[in-house]
Symmetry: C2
Subunit: 272 residues, 2 copies
Amino acid sequence: MKRVEIIAVGNELLIGDVLDTNTNWLCRRLTMMGAFVRRAVLVRDDEDAIAHEVQSAISRGTDLIFTSGGLGPTDDDRTVAAVAKALNRSLVLNEQALKMVEQRYRELYEQGFVDSPEITPPRKKMAMLPEGAIPLFNSVGTAPGVWIDAEVTTVVCLPGVPAELKAIFEQSLPPYLGRILGKGYYAERVFEATCRDESVLAPLLKKVADKHPSVYLKSKARVFGEEVRITILLSASGGDKEATERILHAAIDDLIVELEQKGIVLAPLSER
Amino acid sequence: MKRVEIIAVGNELLIGDVLDTNTNWLCRRLTMMGAFVRRAVLVRDDEDAIAHEVQSAISRGTDLIFTSGGLGPTDDDRTVAAVAKALNRSLVLNEQALKMVEQRYRELYEQGFVDSPEITPPRKKMAMLPEGAIPLFNSVGTAPGVWIDAEVTTVVCLPGVPAELKAIFEQSLPPYLGRILGKGYYAERVFEATCRDESVLAPLLKKVADKHPSVYLKSKARVFGEEVRITILLSASGGDKEATERILHAAIDDLIVELEQKGIVLAPLSER
């Protein structure tokens, strides 16, 4: 399984002005593709802080680093410069990225959203990429995403505006990402238990988890109004769909038997 | 300004099953109290990974570390054990925490939510705290929050269920937190600009930001349907309300003048 880390950039996240939904969206998408998202971090618009996070993810042997935010034209958009610093590469004008930026401003000018299609210095900044980077077309905003193959680790920089991040991920990333993640399969089932006491479930879950170490098993307490409900999630990942489903179902079957002995029944909540 | 870091714990966050809203809520509340939230990280239910994050936050001279999640009765609730390891303290039965857990199970038993008020081993686990810790009463769930004064850094462990985290923060934390954060004031204004092009705003914002280094100034592009709108947020923190407001308003006045010269008008979006 490929190990992924996410770095979400922006003071607005850490002053609590903006709820970071990008990390959750990336975690879900990457998990479904069979990747293992190990860690995510939120940092300020600080070049050294961002560079430090990139370097420390690389030092942990991370296969794939995603950054979100900090690609725009303003002075506090520092992510690409920070990644270049972390990878010890120069920032150079990327001709392909420049063409993408030119195309987007021409389109926005024709649509009446900007007053001029001219490539001013703040616009040109978005085409300054680390040497050897591949720009990823952004059909929603103006800043291209960035793909950089470093020695072991690949770094992918995406914009912070969720609609832009999603557009690049879905439209421009698939061929590159497929090359790294290969064929991955993820299976998951969620149940609600007829027991609202996690402390009663705890030893039963542990028994099943110990018997099925490759299955992830998690109980989750949620408060609905005055009532606590417990959901149980089981999941497994692997290269092969049938084998992964078989492993997951063996754990589910054991869990059902364990709980039945205590008079607890599981009701399926979703199949994803 | 006190430097804060947040560690959100849970595999469910990194497989994208649950959107972490606790970090955003804590960031907002702590910022409004005058604290500087520098960094937040999401990690898996892994004792070593959690302990590593606590140690690395301490090594950066963090004043206050908040953790969320991993306090419950199940085997994968590892946060308190990880914090004990990071601080090199033993886990011991905390009599005051035990009383809190007993009280909650008695209440839940009387309300018919649990089948017995007995303190079983998984329930007792929630009262095993690092030596010298102070338990924080949880009026919604069962696991007490944990307050630990280490040498320079204070560590506060809160549950992952948002209603429990908020209840402890609002009901049990204020006297302890006030002692550390002291009198802090945060002022913020948000405007919408009559310019939808961040690349035009960029040099104007930079000029104002350079003149007012203690004011945080951020433009933010958002896509509404087919339309991009730019909001501008200005904020300042300080010990004194009047001085902080004066500093903030000087920057706002300069920004209005700068933008006016380019025919751009600011409309206030909110006063917080």
